[in-house]
Amino acid sequence: MKLSDARVVIEGLIFASEAPVSAQEIAAITELDVSVVESLVEEIREQHAQGALMIRNVGGGYQMVTKPGLAPWIEKLGRPVVSAPLSAASTETLAIIAYQQPVTKAEIEQIRGVRSDSAINNLLDRELICELGRKAGPGRPILYGVTEKFFEHFGLRSTDELPLKGITEWK
């Protein structure tokens, strides 16, 4: 077997193995020296330098995994995809958060006059708002604010760019 072929075989073995596969196991299957296997694994690593995958050493073997930076995207796999527009309740809640951030749930409910838990959860799911921390004082309520994604969607740089942002003297 040519070394270039061996490299491909090793890549396939590491990908397909249920458990991490050791250099010794690979050497036994490919009939190569362990040292050759190890240097070929290094070559495969270099090959994947620009891609999504990497080979990590784990439990005495090699295992192919995605690079850590991809986790936020990969976590979204298998989730249902929803394209429903925002409800009126969520839109109201989003408006209040955008103009008043950082703001607590109680403050939002005072303005809207109704409970807003489900609207807040919906906005969190849509990643339009996030928790900014906790307010000092009794109960230390969670403070909400809008996210990068919110700014992206409306083409804004910051909340200062919201129309008529100045009108907050009653606050």
Partner: protein
Amino acid sequence: MGYVIELDVYQGPFDLLLDLVAKNEVDLWDIPIAAITEQYLAYLYSLQEKDLAITGEFLVMAATLIRIKSRMLLPQEPPEDETLEESEDPRTELVQQLVRYKFFKEAADFLQQRYAEAARQFTRGQRIESYDLAPVYTCPVGELTLEELRSIYQELISESEKEPPVHTISSTISLEERLALVRLQLMGQPRATFSELVREDSVAEIVVTFLAVLELARLGEIRLIQTKSFGEIDIRPLELEVEVQA
């Protein structure tokens, strides 16, 4: 009946028949039914000699073949209509079944091939933990514009500023006063509606009037009739009603 074990060579009578047609190198659409029937029966006899059980379907087909054969031996009546002749061929139904079966048998071969191919492609070995299933939103803000967001916010703020605090309601209009007022308004009336009572009132006054009306009903001075949710409430002073009935 001992006809329980399927023939392991053939999937069924159609399979056997197709094989006989292929071996004889004859046209499927023009099967020499006498010869094929003979071979079909010979095959079944050979199985019997080997003490192999024959499933019922093979015997049903044997009967079908014999029936077709005998019908073909009957002298043909002169056809009244040219088009009728072909549809009266006793083999037609069987041939159609065979053609249909042949199609799926070939499709099954294709699947076997694809299966062998796909089995040589290995998927990733390791399993990743499943994550929670919060949905992914394709258009999280929908059609919402910045201008709409602003006007919604302004409306909310002006609404929340306009509404007077709750405690001032009870201090300006007392229930006793309103009770007296409603009694006055109903005096001499055979009936009235709730909306007549509150025509010019603010929300706070409507609430107190409603409480007063409920109180009068509790005291037995009036009867309330509402035919549907959020519909008009009819108010009938009870003393008057009694007089009318009398």
